[in-house]
């Protein structure tokens, strides 16, 4: 009986510790143009749906690497880049699905813990002119940076970003 309560106490401490450590790990410094912990929801050829990896925007190319799989899209072939915001369950994957069946509504309770994410959607054309699309999700605050990097590398967008506040108004010298 005493062992069971110790086990429960240890489990509770480990769970709380996990929640405290995870945000610290997410704040690791990253190289410019590199966006780790990006999930490719769908669209890139040769990469599985919902694969997590690193998105890189460099040398005129958007590159997504997940393990040994890699997909490249030339920035100049991207006809539209759109960003959005969403949220996802803090505990996802297989563990998240299993926890949905937890007793006494514990699965539902865990669903209330959510993390905010950014969504980035691109449309691009291949060499034969065929239209493709891809959707990525990434930690919040990164999508706008990806969009700016892509536009700087030659991508296009139908929703232009707001002009920088430091720019002089039109008509002034």
């Amino acid at each position: 009986m005493r062992m069971t309560s110790r086990g429960l106490l240890f489990g509770a401490v480990a769970t709380v510790g996990m929640f405290l450590v995870t945000p610290c790990m997410a704040q690791q410094p990253q190289q410019p143009g590199t966006f780790p912990q990006t999930k490719q929801v769908l669209g890139l050829e040769g990469v599985k749906h919902n694969a997590t990896g690193t998105l890189t925007v460099q040398k005129g190319t958007l590159e997504f690497t997940s393990g040994k799989k890699k997909a490249d899209v030339p920035a100049s072939s991207i006809s539209d880049v759109v960003t959005d915001k969403d949220s996802q369950r803090a505990i996802g994957g297989v563990v998240g699905t299993i926890s949905m069946f937890g007793p006494y509504g514990s699965g539902r309770f865990l669903s209330l813990f959510r993390t905010k994410i950014d969504t980035i959607t691109i449309n691009y054309h291949d060499s034969s002119g065929a239209l493709h699309g891809a959707v990525f999700t990434m930690p919040t605050g990164n999508a706008e940076e990806v969009k700016q990097d892509l536009l700087a590398e030659g991508a296009h967008t139908t929703i232009p970003t707001a002009p920088a506040s430091s720019a002089p108004p039109a008509g002034t010298r």
């Binding site: 759109v82 669903s111 065929a130 699309g133």
Partner: protein
């Protein structure tokens, strides 16, 4: 008395389901057949309804993937593919969004009954000249498990089923 009520309810349910199934089969048998070796799938048109970009792209990509999986066409061309112009018996799949309700994954997981996402799309298959060969209204939904984008997968599966039955 209670048992009688249960038996009556069960009988009614079985009869209703048999009737629904037979009606569905009758519709399937009356479907026009499309005999073509190639299809071009156009980007989903969402001028009437504001559809988030990720949903539009997910609808299109899932549609291409699911129609390819059916194996009914030798070539599945994407929107804008220049090589599609050389295909002799090309048919074109047009999809127009008529309704969209973005639900909430959180609400679905917490309440089970609320927060469903649904997308109503009018699908039309035409030949090269624009003559309509098949028209259907298809609804993609996600009610319980999965994110909102799963509704796009549900839609694509239903369209693929229609393509299977009509070719």
């Amino acid at each position: 008395m209670t048992r009688t009520h249960i038996i009556c309810a069960l009988t009614f349910t079985v009869m209703a389901s048999v009737f629904t199934a037979s009606t569905g089969l009758a519709q399937d048998s009356s479907q026009p057949k499309i005999s073509s070796s190639s299809i071009q799938i156009l980007m989903v048109d969402s001028k009437e309804v504001t559809l988030p970009a990720e949903f539009q792209v997910a609808l299109y990509e899932n549609l291409v993937a699911e129609v390819q999986k059916t194996g009914k066409f030798q070539h599945v061309y994407r929107d804008g593919d220049r090589s599609a112009t050389d295909a002799p018996d090309l048919v074109v799949l047009h999809s127009t969004v008529h309704g969209f309700k973005k639900g909430s994954e959180e609400k679905r997981q917490v309440t089970t009954v609320a927060g469903a996402t649904s997308i109503n799309i009018h699908c039309q298959i035409t030949d090269k000249t624009g003559k309509s060969l098949l028209e259907r209204d298809v609804t993609g939904k996600v009610r319980f498990f999965g994110g909102n984008l799963r509704a796009t997968y549900d839609f694509a599966k239903k369209v693929a089923q229609i393509v299977r039955q009509s070719s």
